[in-house]
């Protein structure tokens, strides 16, 4: 383990995982935290779910969103992925001295709109200002509280052999939109962030489909990392067919220009869903009936095989392992 914090420690990939285990779990150990899901249930309030996330995206404003809407969507989605209805948010701001108040107001206005759209209320907030140079413009932490819609929370550990693996839409839009906007590139077809609140889509899905086993949002580390996590947590192997992966042509082009892989790009308005094999068609119908799921696809299946192994069947028929993100591809993407 390196003796300093590296960008890689924030990637959401293997180094992040090691740091969390070696430092955070070691000193803050308790059964709830050790579950390592994106949100936690608290036993003193049965049916209550909590999740926290800090947003450091650069630039603050990008095509399709900004740090304010992202900070609402990100936490709303983490709460919803447990099978819960997000209800309340707290927000904590770190502001750099010299930030235009106009930018702050635009971000807060956007948070307000995103919160209204997602049906959540901001109930507690805090603002810290640090001297110029001690932070880059603005960071926002949001913590979300929600109510379970199911008897038990969904977890990354509940995938079963035979499950169908679905995604709700095109991959990589958020990551590419932010990277392109940061590097000053513009593509012929402008790519917009997919940032969106998925709680409505999830409620619909849970209402209509009985055997939803896992829900996850493939944010930092992208689809590849999320599938690796589920595979390891659930002890199932996964097969993913490259030909089925929905990636917009503009995202493919942008990725090859910037040297990025869309399977490792963060998404902020997409979900990965594992459902019992008999329910794949039904789940796809439900997802596609919602405005945020029109491009939903089945991309593969889980099998007994080896825990933590995700196999990509390439478009030309080969097979390779799809590993967790190694190294920081994209700092400050969310």
């Amino acid at each position: 383990m390196s003796r300093h914090v590296l960008l890689d420690h924030g990637s959401g990939g293997r180094a992040s995982y090691r740091m969390i285990k070696d430092i955070f779990l070691r000193h803050l150990e308790n059964p709830i935290l050790s579950g390592l899901d994106d949100a936690a249930c608290i036993e003193a309030w049965p049916g209550t779910v909590v999740s926290t996330d800090t947003f450091t995206v650069d630039p603050l404003f990008f095509p399709g969103g900004d740090i304010g809407s992202l900070a609402v969507h990100g936490t709303v989605n983490d709460v919803a992925m447990l099978g819960a209805r997000p209800m309340y948010l707290t927000c904590g701001f770190v502001l750099e001295e010299g930030l235009p108040l106009e930018d702050l107001e635009a971000v807060v206005r956007s948070m307000g709109r995103a919160a209204t759209e997602a049906g959540v209320r901001v109930i507690s907030g805090d603002t810290k200002v640090v001297p110029r140079g001690a932070a880059d413009k603005m960071f926002i932490n949001t913590t979300g509280i929600g109510r379970l819609l199911l008897d038990r929370p969904l977890s990354g550990s509940s995938a079963k052999p035979g499950d169908a693996i679905l995604v709700s839409g095109n991959l990589g839009d958020h990551g590419l939109a932010v990277m392109a906007s940061r590097s000053g590139l513009s593509f012929e077809t402008a790519v917009k962030s997919d940032s969106a609140p998925l709680n409505g889509l999830i409620e619909l899905l849970l209402e209509r489909v009985e055997h939803v086993h896992v829900l996850r949002d493939p944010t930092r580390g992208g689809l590849a990392t999320t599938l690796n996590e589920i595979s390891a947590q659930s002890g199932v192997e996964m097969l993913v067919r490259e030909a089925e992966l929905p990636v917009r042509p503009a995202v493919r082009e942008g990725c090859s220009l910037l040297g990025l892989d869309p399977l490792y790009l963060a998404n902020e308005g997409r979900l990965v869903c594992l459902v019992g094999s008999g329910q794949a068609a039904e789940a796809l119908d439900v997802l596609r009936s919602h405005p945020l799921g029109t491009e939903a696809r089945q991309i593969g299946e889980a099998s007994a095989g080896e825990a933590g192994r995700v196999v990509l069947q390439t478009a030309i028929g080969g097979k390779r392992f799809l590993s967790m993100l190694e190294g920081e591809q994209l700092p400050r993407i969310c």
Copy 2:
């Protein structure tokens, strides 16, 4: 209003208050947030209290504590001040690339100890790493969830004319310890931060004293700012006797050396308490019976008078208004 964020906007004083009203409340308005207490009650979970705070203290380690223990104490105390028992914390870290992992581990270890001591559990966490220069070493957000010990939460708006104003101990230790440590000064008598979890002291007080009207921790902006807030929220005038204010000689000396006023220095292990006049002696006894309240004092009284007016009766017999903090005295003090 200035068109850029100034350090003053983070002071906890008048500029902070204006920014919160003009920007945050304007776009995130709802009855819970508008209460402007340090923690919020959530009506969907009766008896549940939530509070969020971000810690940016510089340096990370200071006499008597570090950013980790401070991040636990600060939020534990905010929850407790509503008359609640803090139970759970979430934590969100922003780490600068290059931070020694040793420092991170020392901070997390300290959080773990502080959480154990305060009787709370860390149930959800998040870590973001930003490139070198995009943040200064480490920021931590903590969000606390607790259970009310009373039928209704305590609020800054419940002070009544005639109430006795008590403080639980010496003022200014935290602020001076951090400032001295930052500036490399050391005083003959080293001053240590008072950072401590006040939930135990508060439970004792609420158990034994019936008419506790207001509890507040005088953090950013110090005692003077906290009294001004309570005075405005409750519509009472306050008289504070300078001769009764407990300030250690070493803090007085350090303040005159650094040009600081102890009444505006942050405290992280002290509370201000307003109790019905008949209960002042009893409340003082209870406070003094606890290790964190041995230096408790009555410092003044509330009266009908003018809302938002805090009068200081000076040691030499004069009177002056004690205003809210104007201008940022101390950035990154908590």
